[in-house]
Amino acid sequence: MARKLMIVDDSNVIRNRITRGSTRMDFEVVATATNGLEAVELYKQHRPDVVTMDLTMPKMDGLECIYELTNLDESANILVISALSDKATGIKALQLGARGFICKPFTDEDLFEALDEMLEGN
């Protein structure tokens, strides 16, 4: 059975790229959100197996959203996909409960590997 994926990113182009890449890996995209606020509501409705999370977004940014989602579900599988490439931000995301981090720009292979690792970790 396909795993449920939720994509959180304010860019259409990136949401489409992740959708195309993930469906080739037996994921079903059950929801897409353009900011953290939308993501929290959609998470409650869909309970996805994996969430890809941008960090720089309007209304509620990714770090705050990770905090909210892990409060809601401590076993949430969150993969950060962000352009913010400094170590401190990566560490902060992991401390808040993210389980993986890939940096933009990313290749399809980077995405496959990261999603694969998330599934192996379960």
Partner: protein, 151 residues
């Protein structure tokens, strides 16, 4: 801004474009300084406001044809103006975000603001100057422009 810091943006541009195209097709030109009274701009411009330790803006400006081609190379089926606007903002966000590997988390970046043409004096202080990194790809010219005040 020192030369080695400019290098971070130069590498960011290369990294972004090499992801989708043959590296030999992309020519990153020598950076130069311009007065902000004559900002460099093409059809669409994605602007990132910088705050924290550094203050200013970083923007990516590109012609329509280059953005169309990039969308196709990225596998996008919808080659519309709204996707070009989205892409120009995303490129700016990625290049500014990647610069935090050098500047650290105090280099705070905003969500992208997308404009048609050039940023005006509201975003670009007229008394300052900007570094322009020109990019040429198959005779289509774009640029990354960095306008940062000394901390």
């Amino acid at each position: 801004m020192k030369e080695e810091k400019l290098q971070v943006f130069l590498e960011g541009v290369q990294k972004y474009f090499h992801q989708v195209m043959d590296p030999e097709e992309l020519v990153v030109g020598t950076p130069y300084l311009v007065e902000n009274t004559v900002p460099s701009a093409k059809d669409f411009t994605g602007v990132i406001a910088i705050s924290g330790k550094n203050k200013g803006i970083v923007y990516f400006t590109a012609p329509k044809e280059l953005l169309e081609r990039l969308l196709i190379l990225m596998g996008e089926r919808e080659i519309t103006e709204s996707f070009m606007i989205d892409l120009v903002g995303e490129v700016a966000n990625t290049i500014a975000g990647n610069a935090r590997s050098e500047f650290g988390e105090e280099f705070e970046i905003s969500v992208p603001i997308v404009l048609r043409g050039a940023p005006d004096e509201i975003l670009l202080p007229r008394k300052d100057r900007s570094f322009v990194i020109p990019i040429n790809w198959k005779n289509r010219s774009a640029a990354i422009v960095i306008s940062l005040r000394k901390p």
